[in-house]
């Protein structure tokens, strides 16, 4: 394991400290927690709280700021944060207008957030939640846990955050978040594994000539282990899975995110985007905006995910609204 760290046990704490030290104009750390909150919490508005295991940076601390999240709670690496930390975040950002929790659909995240919600409600805070499940690599079924939440979550932060910033009510903010969730789909793939610092060895093995389609952002196995394919083939496969799940008609407008998982250079992400853009052009799906970079990573995993968000006028306006965070501006 080759990492620029001090001790596996302190990676999350030291990272949060490093973030707060780097961007004091944007975020501050709640004392004795792994919670980053907006530096300017004065405004009376619905508050947005998200979080999850660490190792997905810039998610979620990088999206705390004006027009996006009010607080982000970092768990241990790949491990949902605990209810006490979530409660601290909720209490710190609540301005009496209620708090929306943005949860990625993992059993652990859902349970910890729900426990925090119960605790906050017991203290008289109005809390609602949405659960993001954009990963089409997993079959959707109400019978099981359903799909995973991955990079599409960032669009939920952006759009719900923009509406909250405009002064909308908790119900309205929850509604728009759910609208985003219903219209966003993602799928990822990996070329190499990643290593949880405290574990010290890679979460899975993958041959020199292999890749895994549908890989989860915690190294959860995907749907297909194949010979490594070209960037164009990878892009085509990801887009076709997404469009199969969420058909888009000619003339419809989308936002595109080409998300790097950690070790993949921007060069490769842009090569993937080239093909994604061409595929959408062929299908006459209009691209309103494209985001290429690292938004929801998996430590130092190599690979990428593609996300499509189907826009309407409301979502377009909110997506384009200004935001001031570490990783989105």
């Amino acid at each position: 394991m080759k990492k620029l760290i001090n001790h596996p046990e302190y990676v999350v704490q030291e990272m949060i400290e490093g973030m707060a030290l780097a961007h004091p104009q944007i975020v501050k750390k709640l004392p004795d927690t792994h919670v980053l909150v907006r530096a300017d919490l004065s405004k009376e508005k619905v508050a947005l709280v998200s979080g999850g295991g660490s190792g997905h940076e810039p998610s979620h601390g990088g999206f705390v700021g004006t027009g996006m999240l009010d607080a982000a709670v970092a768990g241990e690496v790949f491990t949902s944060p605990t209810p006490d930390q979530l409660l601290a975040a909720i209490k710190a950002v609540d301005r009496g207008k209620g708090v929306l929790l943005v949860i990625k659909n993992y059993s652990g995240d859902v349970m910890n957030f729900e426990m925090a919600m119960e605790l906050a409600e017991a203290e008289g805070i109005q809390v609602k939640k949405v659960i993001v499940d954009d990963d089409v690599a997993v079959k959707n079924s109400t019978y099981t846990v359903g799909r995973r939440g991955i990079a599409g979550t960032v669009f939920v932060h952006k759009i719900a955050g923009a509406l909250a910033e405009q002064g909308a009510s908790l119900d309205e903010v929850q509604k728009v978040a759910e609208k985003v969730i219903s219209r966003v789909r993602s799928m990822g793939m990996a070329l190499s594994p990643c290593t949880i610092p405290a574990v010290g060895k890679p979460g899975f093995e993958i041959g020199e000539d292999e890749m895994e389609m549908g890989m989860g952002i915690h190294g959860e196995p995907g749907i297909d282990r194949t010979k490594i394919a070209s960037a164009d083939e990878v892009a085509s496969t990801l887009v076709s899975y997404i469009l199969e799940d969420m058909p888009c008609r000619e003339g419809e407008r989308v936002a595109v995110m080409i998300n790097g998982l950690g070790a993949t250079p921007l060069m490769e992400l842009y090569i993937v985007n080239r093909k994604v853009a061409k595929l959408l052009q062929e299908k006459q799906i209009q691209v309103h905006k494209t985001f290429v970079g690292e938004y929801m990573t998996s430590l130092e995993m190599a690979g990428c995910s593609v996300t499509l968000l189907k826009l309407d006028d409301q979502l377009t306006e909110l997506l384009d609204a200004p935001a001031q965070t570490i990783a989105w501006s």
Partner: protein, 206 residues
Amino acid sequence: MISVEQFLKWIRFAHEKIQQHKNELTELDQAIGDGDHGVNLARGFEAVVQKLDAHEGKDLGALCQEIGMTLIAKVGGASGPLYGTAFVRMATAWKGKQSVTYPEFVQGIEAGANGIQARGKAGLGDKTMLDVWLPLADYLARETETVSWKEVERFVYQQMKSTESMEAKKGRAAFLGARSIGHRDPGAVSSYYLFAALCQTMEMKE
């Protein structure tokens, strides 16, 4: 049947087993999850035994409450709320008791199992820790004070092992669908170590 002293022995023994098998638990989780179960539980139990050092005259209920809250605050992930809830429910069952009788003990385990089910909404056969907890609660409920703890351990082991052939429906392994078959559930295995520690503690006492 079990006193504060015995209980503390059980938990310390469970802690030892978790630390010993940390890598095994992590590897099981790497196969069908995200590879943090060993690390998560090891961190949680480490925190638990540190709290126990200052237990000074707490009753079983208070101890379980402390353990449950510590696990909730330190483990995170899926197993934190589940193990945590189990101990918090046991705390309610054993409130104010310096020791419990066999039926009271069984009530505690049942409360724990029900807590896990309430929190995680899994059913039997969903390939989770519940596949150890629920059958164990039922087994103990059918037995009496004279139960053979060796047999109990064997039973728990079988339950744990039976998760190998199950298809996961809850938890992270559920994303794998049928490909989760052939692997033991990490939470079932850690639950086995928890109860193996119980059985061995009780046997030593006999």
